[in-house]
Amino acid sequence: MRYMGMIAAVAASLLVSITGACAASAEKGRVAFREKGCWQCHGYEGQGGANGLTLARTQLPLEAVDVFVRNTDGPMPPFSKKMLSDEDLADIYAFLSAQPVPADPKTIPLLAH
């Protein structure tokens, strides 16, 4: 039943206009990422850690992220729209997408050897 619900949610989400994403603000997203608690598991820059995946420069589309965030039954608890509005989510997505490309470890002396 959970998966059925998730599929329905994905379908519904795909119908959502991406207008919100276009108007999203990475700077607002940085604030929302901290205020809404995302940093707790994913780190302040979305770098990930023991309890959360790396989100920085995510390759997933916003719609898929939206479905996951609203409906996850995995290790991450779901965030309802009451807890995280669509606008906040779009801003967070913009913030994560705007993260700089990480350096090649070979160029960092501490990681090069």
Partner: protein, 656 residues
Amino acid sequence: MTDLNGKDGYDRRKFLTGAAVAGVTPALAQMGAPAAAQAQAAKPPHAPSALPPNAKTIAAEIHPPEELSRVGGKPGSDFMIDVIKTLDIKYSPSNCASSFRALHESLIDYGENKSPEYISCMHEESGVAMAHGYFKASGKPLLTMVHGTVGLQHATMGIYNAFCDRVPLIVIGGNDMDAAHRPPGVPTFHAAQDINAIVRDYTKWDDTPVSLQHFAQSMVRAYTIAMTPPYGPVAISLDAGLQQEPIKEHLEKLYIPRYVPTSPPQGDSNAVKEAARLLVAADNPVIVADRVARTPNGVTLLIELAELLQASVVDQGSRMNFPNTHYLNRPAGAIPNADVVLGMELSDFWGTVNTYTDNGEDGVGVNGTRLKPTTKLISITSIDLLTKSNYQDFQRFQTVDVHMGADAETTLPSLIEAVKSAMTKDRAAAIEARVEKAKKAHADIRARELHAATVGWDSSPISTARLCMEIYGQIKDLDWSLVASEGNVSNWPARLWPIDKHHQWLGRSGGYGVGYGAPASIGAALANRDLGRFSVSIQSDGDLMFAPGVLWTAARHKIPLLAVMHNNRAWHQEVMHVQRLANFRNRVPNYGADRGPIGTTIENPDIEYHKLAESMGWWARGPVKDPAQLGAAIKEAVAVVRSGQPALLNVWTQPR
């Protein structure tokens, strides 16, 4: 009588004389009047009131007496020290208390404060955790003395950690048991019928000796039991009267039993053969190791077994069991692909091969399996030989196909021989064919870890990957030992530091009782100081604040330790727990003025740990927030530690 100036009342001198006569009179009255008269008549001539002193009297008056002891003979606690010294216990990290004052005095005076040397602690939990860390660095147990009631109450969490982590240590609790003779008031508040009751559920053994000979037997027995795998803490309740009273040599001829180590339990030969048969026949065997390597030899043996089978090894890290530089080392993600899993000294076999997701309906977690239906499970664990009922450290029950109640390191030689015997040419060829694929997989994992470390490399607060690699950059050429890493740094040391020696990682607390990190680090650093190793700990903020007085102990006893703080300004596990529950209940958590849910952060004000450490005699700097400044700060701290002093660096870090 009422005139305080004595004018109209009794003369004080006459009153005293009268009282003296009055005191004699009843005695004379009891003799009867005629007898009294005879006694008066038979009195010898009155002797001069002052005779000239003889030489002996003069000597006694002008020289201090040679023997000041008020104890008639050798104190019982001196004999106790004689017993303890036979066990070669090097230190006793303790907080002083009246209920073991006699043993304390005997240790530092009669025993010359050697073997064991008294280490001054601010808290009993610190003393126990120091012994915990010391053992894991040295393989030698320590003895800690505590007040039998309130001190043991302080010590309990540390003892539980040691029990869960299978670490031997000896706790002696002073207790004044004789209700008719012990001092009233505080000492009686601090007395109990059975002090060990509070720790009986998480000690291997305890005793209450009632004679000195009984103590000698109890002490050697306690040491023997603690040091027989599975290791564990033991407790002795020590009566204050027994400590203080002199040895009654006319009643007992005391002797000290000789300590003889007990051979560890080894797996049954038939079970070992069956395990070998399954492993040799497997196409994808996975060895999971948690507390296999009690000694460096355990690492050597595990490498031999893994290479014989070309089996992946998942090191769960309660000890350093297997080099992470070895191409067969794997993360836990290897387990689902296994057709045979050999679990060795696992603290949680169920959790190793199953999943639990804390995201189910109504807040109840969801169970799942990591295994294929046909996967065979083998367990070798000595923990089955030390299972108690109350505390649930034995974890969920997991059915396995071959179940050996035995010490894994002791069983490894026979298992290796059994694998060699079971090996056919065909199987040997098939196993050999895995080598190149395994090496490539290991290299790929290493490359992914390096890339993961680069994300947020220049962030402030400092990423845990950057923190760990800046530390490693400054210690890599030393004989280093990562003595503890409390708080969660996303396991970066095990992911990035080359760890191939047993002492380079000592494992975690065992029972996850927060407050282990600081004292255990200092205990391990004490051992490493004597062994010539450089000790480093990754010290979390919440852990340090449970009993920060142990910092003073390190400075007082000149214990060199580099403590680099993972200061994420929160009890971060709880930050996430409360957030999770708020999400389940669809409520926006109340953060107050903080970054996380109220009650889970350590900020407003921020604690200046560097000043705290400095106030107790440490070299300390911070807070370091800029990653570009971190390396130089660590370099300076390393130089201080190498000069023999403890150093702390307060670093603001990302949450994990």
